[in-house]
Amino acid sequence: MIKKSILVFTLLGLALFLACERDDICAESTPTTPQLVIQFFDADNISDSKPITLDIIEVEKEDTLFFAGDTLITIPLRTNTESTRFRFTKNRGIDATAEEPENEDIITFNYTTNEVYISRACGFKVTYDDLSLINTNGADGRWIEDITINSESILDESTTHVSIYH
């Protein structure tokens, strides 16, 4: 009878442990909807990274994504449309007489979206395919010398998807 009691309590304990195991919080390490990874290079020496101070605003929004002195940035793309258009403003507030003055280029990213189920806690993510882009310089000319797509598929944030030379 003692052996049986031990068995009962072991099973009960195990059952409770399993029932209480949390799987309703999406772990930070879980890959979810990837952001676009952009790396900045020196236009004069294309193998060298070149830091940039950049304001990025999606054309329909007013909130700014601000980056100061970065060579590698991540920005989100819209998941509910197949196009996202950003104003990329370099050196905002630096006047026209400076060596690298404020300058705005508009980049349109076009892509297709795939919906992927992750897990109970995280739900669904979107990955992107067939990435293409259009760079439109404003009245102030373009600060982007060259822009290339390294990966047409955006499945995670472990690789650089787009390179900008300036």
Partner: protein
């Protein structure tokens, strides 16, 4: 003999002959019942409706073949989506009674094994695309989708007891530990809840459950 026919128990001392005869007289028959916890939960929990009937049949002194049959509907309101599971299940196996009853009693403390099978469908009612950057507004989608023709099989260990409350009426309690064997998952979604197996935990093949049963024993023969 008159006592036996009237069906009334007696506390009068038995003769040695009667005693040995009665001790070998074990009742065999069919026990049928209902899991009380499921209608109760249906009443208390807006996200659940369920019903389960159970039965067992004594085949040897300590062995009973046993089965459960049920139907469940469960709404899973998760952080990033809402889904509804509907389906039926059957569990069949046996119970081993480990309890030595005193004369005249027929209670059970048992260990049981079941093979479970469930067919079900899941409906994804709405969901939000999970993003780590809150720059854009939430992408909330309400295009409801149904995933049907799903199924699962599992093995289950039960531990429980059956106590005779009144003549032939039993109250039972059991705990269930389940392990998934096969699972047909929907394309582009996962199994959140499986009728009979209960909640499916991410990356774990185990499930748990409990039952609170009221059953009636129909004596068929004595041996």
């Amino acid at each position: 003999m008159a006592q036996e026919e009237s069906g009334i128990d007696t506390e009068e001392p038995l003769t040695a002959e009667q005693d040995s005869l009665l001790q070998r007289t074990q009742r065999y028959g069919l026990r049928v019942g209902l899991d009380l916890s499921k209608p109760l939960r249906s009443f208390l929990d807006d996200n659940y409706t369920g019903l389960e009937i159970m039965g067992d049949f004594r085949i040897k002194n300590n062995y009973y073949i046993a089965a459960e049959l049920g139907n469940e509907t469960k709404d899973s309101d998760e952080t990033n989506f809402n889904a509804t599971t509907k389906g039926s299940y059957i569990k069949a196996g046996f119970n081993y009674n480990a309890y030595n009853n005193w004369y005249g009693m027929s209670n059970l403390i048992y260990v049981g094994l079941r093979a479970g099978f469930s067919t079900f469908s899941q409906e994804l009612n709405n969901y939000t695309i999970y993003t780590t950057n809150p720059y854009f507004e939430e992408d909330f989608r309400t295009d409801s989708r149904e995933f049907s023709g799903l199924n699962a099989t599992w093995l289950e260990v039960q531990m429980g007891m059956q106590v005779e409350l009144f003549s032939n009426l039993y109250l039972g309690l059991n705990l269930q530990l389940k392990r998934m064997i096969t699972e047909k998952e929907p394309e582009g979604f996962g199994n959140i809840y499986i009728p009979g197996f209960n909640k499916v935990t991410t990356d774990s093949p185990f499930g748990v459950g409990y039952g609170y049963t009221l059953s009636y024993f129909i004596p068929i023969f004595k041996r």
